[in-house]
Symmetry: C2
Subunit: 111 residues, 2 copies
Amino acid sequence: MLVILFRSKLTASAAADGYPEMADEMEDLARQMPGFVDVKAYKADDGERLTVVWWQDEETLKGWREQVRHRLAQRLGREKWYEYYKLEVAQVVRQNAFERPATAAREPAGL
Amino acid sequence: MLVILFRSKLTASAAADGYPEMADEMEDLARQMPGFVDVKAYKADDGERLTVVWWQDEETLKGWREQVRHRLAQRLGREKWYEYYKLEVAQVVRQNAFERPATAAREPAGL
């Protein structure tokens, strides 16, 4: 599995200039693409946005990168929506997780 | 380069139970370790925290994973600070960036 880190800051005019609509459209579209696994959005204290996308493999990611509407969105992003972006593609080599066990119900006192 | 995604949610008591102090200590310590590249913290709308850490390679990351104070912090995290965590380690395969060019100063009218 691949994980894509897309960090960005928007221009002051992006919110009023079609960005939110295109971002929604791109998320809907990505979810329908072969190879899409998951997406989640985060924000740093300095206002930087981070979108993390998990994708099945390079072949299906290539399909998304070359999708026609997505290519238009990328072009418009550089033309007017992004102050900057930093993209990283990485291959997941291992995962690990922890979940706190539910607290066991105690027996009522006296029983 | 490796990128580590550490997603977590804290327990209700973590903030008053030593977590912030240990988190600060761990960040200071990580920055001094061989192989440390960068770290940045993010948060999702649902409250999930994401710490992204960039590390030079597997060998130096192993050094950090086995660092004595860090091992204690990991143990305390599972004992009392984390409701859950999800850790992913990934190998960066490519990077790409865009920065909006500074707007060129216009010549004053009439010159």
